[in-house]
Symmetry: C2
Subunit: 613 residues, 2 copies
């Protein structure tokens, strides 16, 4: 029944040979890799606005200069990644670049930062998308958590089915977004030109600033830097492009960066010069659209396309996280289960882990983008910095043409992102960045411990040094714990006698009178098999049984443990299992952990007896 | 480590022979059996007050007549139970009386009602106790749920240790309660005599009554009937008294009923005639005490003693519920596990079930006594009615001396409680009584289904009709699924060869190249054991393995299934298990449910290989 439900939800299994990826042309590649980057303006603008609002009306005038600063940063980072994709045409994710050039620790730090980022990207994109649509339909505002979780469920199921990020379905929202936003910005610019800039917004300054002005400005800049998230996607995905891969990827990156710049500067500039303000339940981007287009169908279309691209942006995490987890698992840093391609040829465990983490974040942070953002940027900029720093060494090591210039560009990128990382970390530390600062080293530690374990297991299982033929074992002594003489143990006793001449039954007696009866019936049925009655003054079954096994194993000097054969009866329905003492299960668990350090091994034989109803 | 913690919390195991009960003299017996009954005034008074408040100031004048009516009911019920304890000197719980005289269905109905009642008694007593103390210390009021849960935890641990209800610790709160309440009532009466009755409380009548006045009065009466809860305790516990048991128990019952009457009428009368009113966060009983004694240390002592006796009242559930559950389990109506005496000679599963249920009720109903009360009285009065009706038939059947008079008295009791049951059920149906009305038949159904299952299992396991000696089974064919050739499977192969000549290894190949390698290494180590490579185009391990087993079992015409021997490696730490595909576990689960209808049986052998770190 469960497998039936699974088939309806995610479709029938696919054979391994169907596994291959289609190459993308530039138009499709842009749609596949850019949603996260382009959609960042939704939350970056909102955060800059909320940050500056703390300073009051005067503060809002700083939006434009901050926007320019972030755009400059964008240009530097884009240039850096343009170089990265030339240096790593096989796909240079931050983990790979940092690991190859800076060593394992840096690689793990980058990997941890990326894992967290994927998680936060999907959470932030979903909550931000819900906020976009709830700005247009205010009665949805109180239900943001539920709606975000519902969208998460849809995304998860679609990805478990094996949704390809290169699919047309994914490309639509991106071009819808571009084809609505760019005209809106142009039309807004036209109106600004005709109507002239609005008077600066006058808001009563807060009676008491929550921090010095310079700190608040820095803080607004730091939160605005989330506009850069997603810019690294293309350099990770070079092999997915049609040949010439590197050239196509490079051009696509330039186009994407330009689009990001235009969208970001355009929206932030219009907001300031048209004097737009917003109050919850509405985002600043929604207020801008409403100001430019009025509240009609065009405005609704803009909000809908914002939500769609954010949903697709969340989906890029569903492509990236499982893939990174699989790479890490293949390198032995995450549980092996993440490498397993599921029925539908997707890394299903990675998808499920991401979905669980995202859901948890949405619930813990009550679906509020503003609360999630402080956790976000630290990881992004740590990964940027490590990746760029790695590229500096990469060029220096290769010493190819223009290696000095290339190193310098990536070095500039590394320094800029490092400075930003520092600003972000400090200015948002108390608001939540501390969580990320704490989690990344913790993750690095966990990844390392996992690696140590796998290496140790490989060593322990190695056959090296063992002689290729070992002496055969003697037939086992068999001990059968019984709960009484009934139909369920007949086949158990028969099986035991089919594999060994040395069979003993044991009955743990909670009640001496019952033991007498058991003993007599046993004599009738199996007079040739000895039955030992073990008293249990403390009413425990497992304790006296283990003592009996210990004692008899010591008496037999063949150095082997007796095999324990458990007659186990299996109820016809699952709920009936609740009605029986799970003694067989308790015994198995106790035996599993018995005397593990003595080099013995406890063989357990299960002989089931199926109840028919 | 877990067993260490357990020993600290609930103490070391006790041997079975320590199991015996001390007989109680009347003074100790009163303390043991009366807390539930005496403490009922805490919530009964409160409910009557809240109920009448719905009518307004005029309504509060009806408290005294309602109190008189309930006291009359109390006299009738007490008399009925006085007879019951003579009829069932071996302890006539409602379940036993109803089962013996009215048949199994009535018995199960009484049992279900009682199980729910025990649950509700402990929940209501705890929440009401917390309200008593939070009335005196108002800043505790918002934390009622947490405090109630904490008290529940203490009670649970104490009972798991094996707290005797007859202990001195349990007697103290009862006598403290009597020694503070009775003087307070006397002093209040003195003040009433000196000061004269207060003018009737004038409260603005509600603009619109929520229901007709007669309905509201009936409703107040119905909620007030919770004052009678616990009155049946003595008749259940006759064997615990010192001889002459019946005489002592009878006298104790009379004293208890008199005390109940005095406390109830005294407190409700004083409340009305002193014109006491209360508003949350305060109970009416607290307001009365404050009015009579002022807010000083005596008042605090009263509130503390109220809380203590309510805590002890909750504890009576911890004595009654597990015992009833054990009786029902021994009769085959509840899971057998409830009969098991734990390490400390207490019915630990019953205690844990009660604690879980109580905790759930406290959380679901937000620690609010007022919300829980409507669920409460239905079960109590159903049990009363069934028990009294059973006694009528009991006397009629025995035809002893005065059987007609005895029948008549119990008949009067049955009719009165039936009428009350009806009033309670109707007037509080929508407020929550429907839950009980729905749950009791559901419980009856569950108990019956469990009984049917146990009877069916007994039949299926019976050896009757089987010839006492069966033909020995041939040695098994053994199939070893392997995940590769490594140290973990050496002992598995050796063990297999020690019990059978017919051993086959199976490797499910997700990747044909890896399979080639496995096959070659295998040839080196065990050239004489065949290895079968099974391809798996859909990357499933379990599916192809089961198909292989099905196919080979069909090829062998001996009518037996192959034994599956699983080499399983056991990590050194629990967390390491997360890092390995639980393939062995998956295979076991799949085999357990394989072909269950064909009469075959799948024997599974576990050969563990312990990782050292």
């Amino acid at each position: 029944m469960i497998s039936k439900l699974k088939e309806i939800l995610i479709g029938p299994p696919l054979p391994t040979q169907e596994l291959n990826e289609k190459r993308l042309n530039k138009l499709r590649a842009l749609a596949a890799f850019s949603p996260d980057a382009l959609s960042s303006i939704a939350y970056a603008n909102q955060e800059i606005y909320l940050g500056l609002l703390l300073i009051g009306g005067v503060g809002l005038q700083l939006a434009w200069p901050i926007g320019l600063a972030i755009s400059a940063l964008l240009a530097v980072v884009a240039l850096s990644y343009y170089q990265t994709l030339h240096g790593y045409p096989s796909g240079g994710g931050s983990y790979v670049v940092a690991r190859d050039n800076l060593g394992r620790l840096a690689g793990l730090a980058a990997a941890s930062a990326l894992l967290l980022d994927y998680l936060l990207t999907s959470a932030v994109s979903l909550t931000s998308g819900v906020e976009a649509i709830a700005s247009a339909i205010p009665f949805l505002w109180p239900y943001r958590v539920v709606i975000a979780l519902f969208m998460l469920l849809i995304l998860t199921l679609a990805n478990l089915r094996g949704l390809k990020e290169s699919g047309t379905l994914m490309a639509l929202p991106v071009y819808l977004f571009l084809c609505t936003y760019l005209p809106m910005l142009a039309y807004g610019l036209l109106r600004l030109f005709i109507e002239g800039p609005a008077a600066p917004v006058t808001l009563p300054a807060p009676a008491q600033l929550s921090a010095p002005t310079w700190f608040l400005v820095m803080h607004a800049f730091a939160t605005g830097c989330t506009a850069l998230t997603g810019i690294e996607a293309i350099s990770n995905g070079v092999p997915a492009f049609e040949p010439p891969e590197v050239k196509n990827a490079g051009r696509t990156l330039i186009v994407m960066a330009l689009l990001m710049g235009v969208l970001f500067l355009g929206s932030i500039g219009l907001t300031q010069f048209l004097g737009v303000t917003a109050a919850a339940p509405e985002t600043i981007l929604s207020a801008l659209a409403r100001r430019v287009l009025g509240g009609g169908p065009f405005y609704l279309l803009i909000q809908f396309s914002t939500m769609s691209i954010l949903a697709v942006a969340a989906n890029t995490s569903f492509a990236g996280f499982p893939r990174l987890a699989a790479i890490l698992a293949a390198d032995g840093f995450l549980p092996r289960q993440f490498t397993g391609l599921g029925d539908r040829l997707v890394f299903q465990n990675g998808i499920l882990a991401l979905a669980a983490g995202t859901g948890l974040l949405i619930i813990l942070f009550e679906g509020d983008t503003h609360l999630l953002i402080p956790l976000f940027a630290v990881g992004v900029f740590l990964a940027f910095t490590l990746s760029q720093a790695g590229m500096v060494l990469h060029w220096a090591r290769l010493r190819g043409t223009n290696w000095l210039a290339k190193s310098a560009i990536n070095g500039l990128g590394a320094l800029t992102t490092l400075a930003t990382l520092f600003i972000v970390g400090v200015s948002k530390f108390l608001e939540g960045a501390w969580i990320t600062v704490f989690l990344i080293p913790l993750l690095v530690l966990i990844l390392s411990r996992i690696h140590i374990h796998y290496r140790s297991v490989t060593r322990q299982l190695s056959l090296k040094g063992l002689p290729p033929s070992l002496k055969p074992a003697p037939p086992p002594r068999v001990v059968i714990p019984i709960s009484g003489v009934h139909r369920g143990i007949i086949s158990a006793v028969n099986y035991a006698r089919s594999i060994s001449q040395d069979v003993t039954a044991v009955y743990v007696a909670l009640d001496p009178e019952a033991a007498q009866g058991v003993s007599e019936t046993w004599q009738l049925w199996w007079p040739d098999v000895p039955l030992v009655i073990v008293p249990s003054p403390y009413r425990s079954i497992v304790g006296p049984l283990l003592e009996f096994l210990d004692r008899t194993d010591l008496e037999h000097n063949d150095g082997a443990q007796a095999t324990v054969l458990l007659p186990e009866f299996i109820p016809a329905n699952w709920w009936q299992a609740l009605l029986h003492n799970q003694t067989a299960w308790l015994i198995k668990t106790a035996l599993l952990y018995r005397r593990r350090n003595r080099g013995y091994q406890q063989v357990i034989i299960d002989v089931p007896y199926h109840l028919r109803r």
